[in-house]
């Protein structure tokens, strides 16, 4: 240490009120640990939610419809979405894109070729093409084409293979086989009818429906429909985070419902967020008190050495020298406190990562970048506040 500071040490006694300083340091330490844990817990939770299962997809799709209640039964217009409702949905911050699912307004029958002896009434729906996850060059239709590309829900094939086919002694079919089956599709309304060949181009997990290109749907509804503009009853939403509690609340508030499986995390997320926020809040409150005690401690030192400081200044000690000396008394203290807090959280993180790994949940064994930034910010804040206090009371 500079010899001048060694002499200052004898003049400006910082030993006064040591218990107060200890309290302030302990408070700062606990506050930092709480804050860092809150931030780290947040990071971990995000890693768990979005870490691996969603690695390849940046967005998720939700099919939203109105809840069918007993009171609504028989009044299909009550389950329709109006244009305003779609607009409202589109305007929500958590919705990246939203589109109608248009249903067919005509009769559809499908018949399997050859010996399969399969004949069924069915329906079609369509969504804007950007929502289709089976990217396929065959996914297009224009007037005059005799082949309609169709996307089947994965569940449908499973139901057929493991439910229907087994019980009816029918052969099970693979996805490839289905794709190669030309299905005879008849579209009709009254006496008008058209024949098409349905070509299965893919299977979707996103939308549980029989999908055809929007172009075909528009044409067919126009030609075979009842002439009224189609009021859709289902909406598909593209969202980056189906576990977003705001989204779930929005759906609930409007009486909408969706695939519950996809939004099941939202409740957990809400609880975790609340807990993390409470911890973080206490951390911040504690930090403020620690800062207050630090400031009061500095004030106390300066007040108790007022005469000495005056004489020092009179003899030519620069204010900057005094400031530097006083800061030196505190900075190492909270740098050490900060390091201890960071180490503690790092150890906790490591233990947590191991414990979670036992349950096949993967989080990084290292604290996240957010925690490092927070630690740096807290230390800078403490430095800044102390520096200001010293400046204020020295003058």
């Amino acid at each position: 240490m500079h010899p001048f500071f060694q002499l200052l040490k004898k003049i400006i006694q910082t030993g006064i009120g040591k218990s107060r300083l200890l309290m302030a340091t302990a408070g700062l330490g606990i506050a930092m640990v709480l804050l860092l844990i809150a931030i780290q817990a947040h990071t971990n939770f995000y890693q768990l939610l979005y870490g691996r299962q969603n690695q390849n997809e940046s967005a998720d799709f939700l099919v939203v419809n109105k809840k069918i209640t007993n009171a609504m039964m028989g009044q299909s217009d009550k389950s329709m979405f109006t244009a305003e409702e779609l607009q409202t949905i589109k305007q929500q911050s958590f919705v990246e894109a939203a589109g109608y699912i248009t249903s067919s307004q005509f009769k559809v029958t499908a018949a399997a070729p050859g010996e399969l002896q399969f004949y069924t009434d069915m329906f079609f729906e369509s969504v804007p093409d950007s929502f289709i996850d089976v990217k396929n060059e065959e996914w297009k239709w224009q007037e005059g084409d005799g082949v309609i590309p169709i996307i089947l829900p994965n569940d449908f094939l499973n139901l057929y293979n493991f439910g229907f086919a087994l019980s009816q002694d029918l052969p099970q079919v693979s996805q490839e086989t289905v794709k190669n089956l030309p299905v005879k599709i008849t579209v009709s309304r009254g006496l008008l009818s058209s024949q098409f060949t349905g070509h299965i181009v893919g299977f979707s997990d996103r939308i549980s429906s029989f999908l055809v290109p929007a172009a075909f749907m528009d044409w067919a509804n126009n030609r075979y429909g009842n002439g009224k503009a189609a009021a859709p009853s289902r909406i598909v939403i593209k969202t980056s985070d189906p576990a977003n509690p705001t989204l779930v609340k929005f759906l609930d508030d409007h009486g909408y419902t969706t695939n519950q499986d996809k939004i099941k995390y939202s409740k957990t997320k809400l609880i975790v967020q609340t807990i993390v926020s409470v911890i973080g809040f206490f951390g911040i409150v504690l930090l403020l008190f620690a800062l207050l005690v630090f400031s009061m401690f500095i004030q106390l030192i300066i007040a108790s050495c007022k005469k000495e400081i005056q004489l020092l200044v009179m003899l030519g000690t620069a204010p900057a020298q005094l400031r530097r000396y006083l800061l030196r008394q505190f900075v190492p203290l909270y740098v050490v406190t900060g390091i201890v807090a960071v180490l503690l959280v790092a150890v906790l993180q490591w233990v947590a990562a191991r414990a979670l790994a036992a349950h096949e949940m993967v989080v990084s064994p290292w604290p996240g970048i957010g925690m490092w930034i927070a630690a740096a910010v807290v230390l800078l804040l403490v430095y800044f506040v102390n520096n200001r206090t010293i400046r204020k009371y020295l003058d």
């Binding site: 010899p3 001048f4 003049i11 003899l315 000690t317 620069a318 204010p319 020298q321």
Partner: protein
């Protein structure tokens, strides 16, 4: 470094001082660099006040104290500190040592405060030996006699670089022999540093070869 007084009058003593003749108060006075200045002042004429004005630790005056052409008020705290560390040194009448430090530490404080000390620790030892205070250097300043404290304060003022040394009755508690030694040391150090001094005292004296003498 030039010090100029321009119609300097202490506000609390204004009426009293303006009734009597003075070489300093309410006059234009210039202390030219390197000169030895003696200001003789009877009690109650503002001797200590003047020294404090010159050192800029009292501000209740009319007129101006100009340092290098600028009034003291134009210097900020850091500039003031730099001047006190490197250009202006002082021996207070009431000495103002730190009781919690030893005599040696009191001297060291001033020696190492600035960016470059004017002398080495060995030279401090020599000064202490010349003023016969070597034996008290390691004692707490609190336990020293007034005469010893005064000699420590004199050494403290000499260990920093300076162009002006302000002295307020610096020998008040020293016997003739010690006064002679202290004055010799001060004169020598001033010559080495090419510095001048302003000394205030109650009576005439022959401790120094003064260049100028004023009556306060």
């Amino acid at each position: 470094m030039q010090i100029q007084l321009s119609h300097l009058v202490p506000l609390p003593l204004r009426d009293k001082l303006l009734q009597r003749a003075s070489d300093i108060w309410n006059k234009d006075v210039t202390f030219s660099p390197g000169s030895f200045v003696k200001i003789k002042a009877p009690s109650g004429t503002g001797k200590t006040t003047l020294v404090h004005y010159l050192y800029h630790i009292r501000y209740d005056y009319a007129g101006k104290v100009m340092v290098n052409g600028k009034p003291w008020q134009d210097y900020n705290k850091s500039a003031l500190a730099a001047i006190r560390q490197q250009q202006v040194s002082i021996i207070f009448q009431d000495l103002r040592l730190f009781d919690q430090l030893t005599a040696w530490e009191n001297i060291e404080l001033k020696r190492v405060m600035g960016p470059a000390p004017a002398c080495t620790a060995e030279q401090v030892q020599e000064m202490a030996a010349r003023l016969q205070v070597t034996h008290v250097l390691q004692q707490s300043a609190r336990t020293l006699s007034y005469g010893e404290r005064q000699r420590i304060a004199i050494i403290r003022a000499l260990v920093q670089p300076f162009k002006w040394l302000l002295m307020d009755e610096p020998f008040s508690h020293l016997d003739e022999e010690n006064t002679r030694r202290a004055a010799a040391l001060i004169a020598e150090t001033c010559k080495t540093q090419q510095a001048g001094f302003v000394l205030t005292d109650l009576d005439d004296d022959v401790h120094f070869n003064y260049d100028v003498q004023y009556q306060l």
